[in-house]
Symmetry: C2
Subunit: 252 residues, 2 copies
């Protein structure tokens, strides 16, 4: 009899932000598969349960292994960071099983993604429409990414950038910043959050004109405001529009 795969987003990393439904699926698993950094973040959960880990960029290998174990009848938990449904492992498993409607049961469980976590630490930047773009061109052609940056900026979307830059991969970020500066005010507020809700957390507020000079890496999420976004008492806030209809007073 075939087993099952629960694809779990463990949230930003601190167990305080792992939902009970996702924790339960980890506790019920017979084997937990994941990138070793994420397995370390959940090492206190079901410590007796066997783990199978692999390194960064070995997602295909991990998905294949999860499918193999489930094919052997195991209840498998496959772990992503954040939300497994946002640039996570959910799509890969469903794609690999796609042409083959096996008896393997697959469930995708929601989690708190980097955009949810970063926004909360910055203030309230996502009160109006926003776009989410990964700047990694490993799997998406750079021209497609940059075209989207242009459309998002023209549309007045707040923009969340995942995977903004790595040591080797700096061009997408630099070119995205150039495109943003063509369409947006250089003073537009930008929030930069590294390692949200983890020990190494850093929260910075900068102007769009200063963004390209920042030293940032893959563990960082960047949120670029739109033309209405403000910095209020050190928080990044995009008004929802209540001020058009209501007297919001002075808050006192």
């Amino acid at each position: 009899m075939a087993g099952s795969i629960s694809i779990i987003g463990i949230g930003p990393g601190a167990l305080n932000w792992l939902a009970p439904g996702a924790r339960l699926a980890l506790e019920n698993a017979e084997v937990i598969v994941g990138y070793r950094t994420y397995l370390k973040q959940i090492e206190s959960i079901a410590p007796q349960t066997p783990r199978e880990s692999s390194g960064m960029r070995h997602e295909v290998e991990r998905a294949r292994r999860a499918i193999e174990l489930a094919g052997d009848g195991k209840r498998v938990a496959l772990v992503s960071s954040g939300d497994s449904g946002i640039y996570g492992m959910a799509g890969l498993v469903l794609e690999m099983l796609g042409g083959n409607p096996a008896a393997i049961q697959v469930e995708v469980l929601p989690g708190i993604s980097a955009l949810n976590a970063a926004a909360s630490l910055l203030g309230a930047p996502l009160m109006t429409d926003f776009a989410v773009i990964s700047l990694s061109d490993l799997l998406t052609p750079l021209e497609d990414i940059l075209r989207r940056v242009g459309f998002a900026a023209q549309g007045g979307f707040v923009i969340c950038f995942y995977n903004p830059r790595s040591h080797r991969r700096t061009e997408p970020f630099e070119r995205a910043c150039q495109i943003l500066l063509k369409h947006c005010n250089p003073d537009t507020p930008v929030g930069v959050v590294k390692a949200a809700y983890r020990a190494e957390q850093e929260v910075r507020h900068v102007k769009l004109s200063d963004l390209s000079a920042l030293e940032i890496g893959m563990d960082t999420l960047v949120i670029v405001g739109n033309s209405t976004t403000q910095l209020l008492n050190g928080r990044m806030v995009t008004p929802r529009g209540y001020e058009r209809k209501y007297d919001l007073g002075d808050g006192s």
Copy 2:
């Protein structure tokens, strides 16, 4: 001494998807303020703690009351559904306190938003870049909303629509569907999720050409795929791009 406000997203509604960090803030509060439907969903948490509720569309009143109570020295929990930072209460409170850097401490806590919840039930539609648009024109001019729909469709974004339609407000949805059909294949997969993770949950897969005829309401999230999105074994999947670099095999 001034108090504090914790702005909490309670997730889709089932307590299984409320993160421990958010639950803790509810348990530590001296008073919990929120829309009465959301307070009902968390009635089992800290049942002794006083509640103050009001009806739909009274967000400004609730935010003002939370600020008033915190000004009196209380530890206040202010409750949104989903993620309080995505079309939730976080922005309103920070706006109202904006010109007035009072001693009131405000923290925004992340949650599982409707987009995270709906995507997990549909499969993996958000594996690539996506845009998030609210079709409510109560606070945003309709022309701005429709302009964004056009840019998102031209950019090849997957699109998540919040607040797609109410009994009285049908025009934004109908016009958004028309715009999408101008730019996208009428067979584009669309996922429609009502009341994710609640008793009344409904998950439907339709084609873009059939979307405008659906009877849907405010408790529904709509995710429109892009040109690469497929329906695989009944799940909506937007490939991340691994198939460009790897042989994904047949999953067996």
